[in-house]
Subunit: 408 residues, 2 copies
Amino acid sequence: MNRADAETLDATDPLARFRDAFALPPGVIYLDGNSLGPLPRAAVERVALTVGQEWGQGLITSWNAAGWIEAPQRLGGKIARLIGAKANEVVVADSTSVNLFKLAAGALSLRPERRTLIIESGNFPTDVYVLEGVCALSGAMLKVLPPDEVLGAVDADTAAVVLTQVNYKTARRWDMAATTAAVQAKGALMLWDLCHSAGAVACDLNAANADLAVGCSYKYLNGGPGAPAFLFVAERHQAQIRSPLSGWMGHAAPFAFEDRYRPAADIGAMLCGTPPILGLAALEAGLDLQLEADPKAVEAKGLSLCRLFIDLVESRCAGHGLVLTGPRDMAQRGLHVSFAHPEGYGLVQAMIARGVIGDFREPDIARFGFSPLYLSHADVWDAVEILRDVLETKAFEAPEFRTRAAVT
Amino acid sequence: MNRADAETLDATDPLARFRDAFALPPGVIYLDGNSLGPLPRAAVERVALTVGQEWGQGLITSWNAAGWIEAPQRLGGKIARLIGAKANEVVVADSTSVNLFKLAAGALSLRPERRTLIIESGNFPTDVYVLEGVCALSGAMLKVLPPDEVLGAVDADTAAVVLTQVNYKTARRWDMAATTAAVQAKGALMLWDLCHSAGAVACDLNAANADLAVGCSYKYLNGGPGAPAFLFVAERHQAQIRSPLSGWMGHAAPFAFEDRYRPAADIGAMLCGTPPILGLAALEAGLDLQLEADPKAVEAKGLSLCRLFIDLVESRCAGHGLVLTGPRDMAQRGLHVSFAHPEGYGLVQAMIARGVIGDFREPDIARFGFSPLYLSHADVWDAVEILRDVLETKAFEAPEFRTRAAVT
């Protein structure tokens, strides 16, 4: 295997044209789109239009005239196409954490006779933390269990199981259909976190008969830093589920200013406060771009990039102590690859200094994401060569890579 | 009184220079800054920099390098100066509704032996709706009482009283210090909603010994459509209060990825999900502008505009059925003025068609906001003359003003 072989793989890449749609800085190989996706060029103009024209000139009238008020549902409908949902099952709102709070508490409202929530240990921390908050306020019980004990623990008191389809650290992927069926067989609800799935791997919520889902839009959907998140409620649950975050935008008639809360009969009941229009504008540019790509091609290319990265690291960087974390089987993983290394933090910093941007996750994980819309197999080759050089020269030992930044 | 008299008042306006800092469309008299503040010119460049440079070029590294991760506290410190709080008592995050949920539930955590929340009827609907949600999930009791019955109802079971300093419809202003003292005398906590106060009227949380507060930033603070909101927790409560929205950004060490939630010991514990950076960028431009103005001059000018508007409407539009809603005493009001009129909706629409933008609130309220940074007394004169013409010509009866828009 050499660079020319990588270039050969790129020659037939059906997604190659998307690279030019992103404003990536020259000389950078960006392997952190699983943390913050890069800027779609179209977002620059979209945001400028929203600020200068819609806000500046349209002022308050833009809530109607520029379609601001429908944006949560309009963008939800676009995300629905990427996750196997119906347009009326998804809205964009708040953060993933806030949406998880709504749906975990909402699951308790759908299963009022059940008082336990189950989550896997090793899930992205906010998922566990948020369920702790739901349980502290509601008096429900939280069970945090190792992944392989989750399904066996579901019982008649279990209201919902919360799992992340693709683990943030290991990239291990749950079988969505089989897991959902196993949870539902015990009468519990299945709540999926799609933060590392949407825009990356195959995800068909309706085919899996999923009940509830949340996800973020600033990773593979390239919605921008802190972009609003999304949530999914299967149509069959929408009339019954109650969001505890019963803000005015979830009311059946927000501008009737009624005295008491009367939830919308549809997915709109999951909204809470005033929608964040600037964030939604940027996100819509990212979504419109994503919708031009065939999701099957996206997953296939992403896994091809991951496979190449794993193969090259294990062959060309052999003997340097890097240990693959997470599944080797492509069918069981998402689009980032993690290697444990005792000097993981310094390793990532030294690579960033040379233009290969990945990130670090405690305690020793160097993590690299392979977003299919703007990366090539040649990029993967080049990134591994830089990693090899960092390892061989022990560049990670430099003093400037010793101090932890606030965000790692 | 004639237009020249209004111009005389403007001649000594210490805030006149701020008008040019806003990108208001020509020919518009904008009396809806109490719903959505206009675009500060500086926000255009600020947002473009955040999108193009910080996101586009800095990518993930901007969380540290561009100060994104500290933005909630940095902007909170700026808002603190406008509401009489210490810099470490305020953060910017989420929406007003979500923040109210955090703090109302947080009040229950501070007064665990008390199980009742009290709110005034006629408060902005989301405040009541959100407390309904807190109570539904926690089992606490909600009392919704007429304003004049609130203080008498506070008893040994009352955890907190939630009041909006300036009412969204009538503009009636509570005496913050006296009300806070009366509530605290019964051992309850006082939670203020400052949506119609911040950037408008005098507001000194620390002088009033307030416990908790929330507020929005897209009205008088000109933060942009759906801009992130703020919340205040008095320093003395920060070690004990528990937010039910225990997301990772409120953790003592978010990037340690610890298994269980461990709240930050400071105001940071009130954060939940990833901060909305584009919204924060626009808001910071609005805040930096606001901080250049003397808050006393802001309130004084705003009340002068309101007084002029009331006087002119009642003299020049007499006999047309407009009835002032809310206090006539300037010491008891905020910076918007509401008149009831049987054709309130059409009236507002007909004025908008002639460039005077106000809004309508059910059932019959034409509402006009007098934001001091970009309005003049001459604007008030001109607006009233247009109102007079709309009334005299019955322009509000035109068929195009009969259909209610989604947002009124």
